[in-house]
């Protein structure tokens, strides 16, 4: 204690490297630098492994761990590439088809449900609200087991059995809630004023709904379509439980099977394609959302927040 006090004056030059580093990190007066370090370290940890996995999809060899030069053979030319391997190609087509059907069914269902739930006030609406939120928090394996048993054991649902149709039905079931949450959030933020103004000016309820409310909801509808497409492409559990074999294998299922067997960089390549598809869809949704909501009250700060808070 006293020693440090005595040595304090001449310690200006004799800071050790450690002291300097620790002084920079836990500087109590400036910005909390150890938080800066943790945050950026977290970001690197979260993103870089995926970048390395993408890098190995361009490997000029069969290894996914040793870099042997750049090549696009796992995308096009190699017999096991996405382009030439029928299994991978079919999986990609099946994933995209499934996601498209999911969007086509879940978005209209979700939008009407959101409209209903946001405005409907009576007994029953509370229960419907709870029912809508439940799929968001139900572990996927529970949904997978229950849908599998529904389609294989409980008549008349057994006519559907497992396969592509069952997968579409399952995907729509977990997607509806996302659409409802996004669209309903937008409804709360725009309020009723615009429709009331339209009604005051003589619009019938149908016109107010179709010409006023629907255009205002458009950004949320587009955003929810993008998000549903993305979560459908990325889904593994429901697709796996409701699959009926090779013809209904999706890309995540291919990756799962490949990591457990002997994967080649083609696995990384198809995973990369999937990431690109998902990110493109979400970024497109975000850009549309921003273009639509530009200039609206408080749009600048809330755009990011609305888009980020999709899951609550």
């Amino acid at each position: 204690m006293s020693e440090s006090a005595v040595s304090a004056p001449q310690s200006k030059q004799s800071f050790s490297l450690w002291q300097r580093v620790s002084g920079w990190v836990v500087n109590p007066w400036g910005r909390p630098r150890f938080l800066v370090l943790i945050t950026w370290a977290y970001m690197v940890w979260a993103i870089v492994p995926v970048i390395i996995a993408v890098q190995f999809s361009f490997n000029d060899g069969r290894s996914r761990t040793v870099w042997q030069g750049f090549s696009t053979q796992w995308y096009w030319s190699n017999p096991d590439s996405i382009w030439n391997n029928a299994e991978l190609r079919d999986a990609l087509v099946h994933s995209l088809t499934l996601a498209a059907w999911d969007v086509l069914i879940a978005v209209p269902l979700g939008v009407t449900l959101a409209l209903g739930l946001a405005r409907w006030r009576s007994r029953g609406s509370g229960g419907a609200n709870f029912l809508m939120l439940f799929p968001l928090v139900t572990p996927e394996i529970v949904m997978g087991v229950s849908l599998l048993l529904l389609f294989t054991q409980l008549p008349p649902f057994t006519h559907i059995h497992t396969g592509g149709l069952a997968q579409v039905l399952g995907h729509v079931t977990f997607s509806i809630s996302y659409v409802v949450v996004i669209v309903r959030g937008r409804m709360f933020s725009i309020g009723r004023e615009y429709e009331e103004a339209a009604a005051d000016l003589g619009a019938s309820p149908g016109v107010a709904l179709w010409k006023v409310l629907l255009p205002l909801l458009m950004p949320a509808i587009v955003a929810s379509a993008a998000i549903v497409f993305a979560i459908s492409i990325d889904d593994f559990v429901i697709s796996q439980w409701l699959s009926s074999g090779p013809s209904t294998t999706t890309v995540p299922m291919e990756i799962y099977d490949a990591t457990r067997a002997a994967p080649t960089p083609a696995t990384n390549a198809i995973a990369t394609v999937m990431v690109i598809v998902t990110l493109t869809s979400v970024v497109a949704g975000f850009l549309v959302w921003r273009a639509f909501t530009r200039g609206q009250h408080g749009a600048k700060q809330s755009t990011m927040r609305d888009f980020a808070a999709f899951d609550v």
């Binding site: 993103i47 995926v50 996995a53 209903g116 928090v137 572990p139 048993l149 054991q153 995973a271 808070a309």
Partner: protein, 297 residues
């Protein structure tokens, strides 16, 4: 201005869909779990009439979940993995969320984009990335050998509990940080200024203002990732595959995709869902409260 029947009519298709494909399936699970098994062919014979329910399978599974039973180890391991992963997520996630909410300044938008990015990278891709990195000749082993920490490659993927927990943290932490960030971002800074004006140290201000006000986000995030973790089977399968690291989800997966015994699988699913219903109820209740506040504005 709108006719009263309009909104329930709008809600009807979605509600009917969810009843048929979300609620009724649970009845299918109950019917199978409380049914019987064909004595010769071994397939499930569901009992759809509650009068014919046979509780034998469910009570048998419950007995095996008790200490000494065949599922006891798996159940304990599942809870251990989830609790350790939650603690890991909190230790890494809280500082990150706190920094982005409070101090990020001009880098805030960039950091938020990076924070959301993993949401849109398939979970399977993120696991594949670690399988590549942790392979015997992967970057991690080569780095550890290069830096003389190891002399020969370590079998990270040969059934290590630590690898499974690492993968669980990596997989689920984005879903934990985001709600936590949202709750930290909402805190009114004037409370902190008041605390500091009244003489509280930064640490005391954190302990008495920030931490309690972020409790909802912390618990919400924890529940949000605990639920899928309790049902996870793919993460242990991908990064380990050994029975010594299997979780309760693997047990269910095994009874459906391994040697099919759907009756036992359904019984475990029912017990797991009942246990998780408490967590789900808590989470839905907080969302419900938040939605009510939104409506009242």
């Amino acid at each position: 201005m709108y006719p009263r029947w309009l909104w329930p009519t709008f809600a009807a298709p979605g509600v009917i869909w969810l009843i048929l494909l979300f609620l009724v399936p649970f009845y299918a699970v109950i019917g199978v779990a409380f049914g019987s098994v064909d004595p010769i062919l071994g397939f499930a014979v569901p009992a759809w009439n509650p009068a014919n329910w046979n509780t034998g399978w469910v009570t048998q599974v419950l007995g095996e979940l008790a200490p000494g039973g065949i599922y006891w180890d798996v159940a304990v391991r599942t809870i251990e993995y989830v609790v350790i992963s939650l603690a890991g997520c909190a230790l890494i996630g809280y500082p990150v969320a706190y920094y982005i909410a409070r101090h990020a300044g001009r880098t805030k938008t960039l950091l938020l984009i990076l924070l959301i990015l993993p949401f849109w990278i398939s979970y399977l891709m993120r696991m594949l990335a670690w399988v590549n990195l942790l392979a015997p000749d992967g970057y991690v082993n080569r780095f550890l050998i290069w830096s003389h920490v190891l002399t020969s490659p370590y079998g990270f993927l040969d059934g290590q509990s630590s690898t499974v927990i690492w993968a669980l943290i990596y997989g689920y932490i984005p879903y934990f940080i985001l709600p936590l960030y949202a709750s930290l971002d909402r805190i009114d800074r004037s409370y902190l200024e008041a605390a500091r004006d009244l003489g509280a140290s930064p640490f005391r201000a954190f302990l008495h203002i920030t931490l309690p006000l972020s409790k909802t986000g912390l618990l919400g995030g924890a529940v949000l990732i605990a639920l899928p973790m309790f049902g996870d089977y793919y993460t242990p399968n991908i990064v380990s595959g050994a029975p010594t690291t299997s979780m309760i989800g693997n047990q269910i997966d095994l009874y459906f995709h391994g040697g099919p015994q759907p009756t036992i699988g359904a019984a475990i699913t029912i017990i797991l869902s009942t246990f998780l219903l408490i967590l789900m109820g808590y989470y839905l209740w907080t969302i419900h409260k938040a939605t009510k506040e939104l409506r009242s504005i």
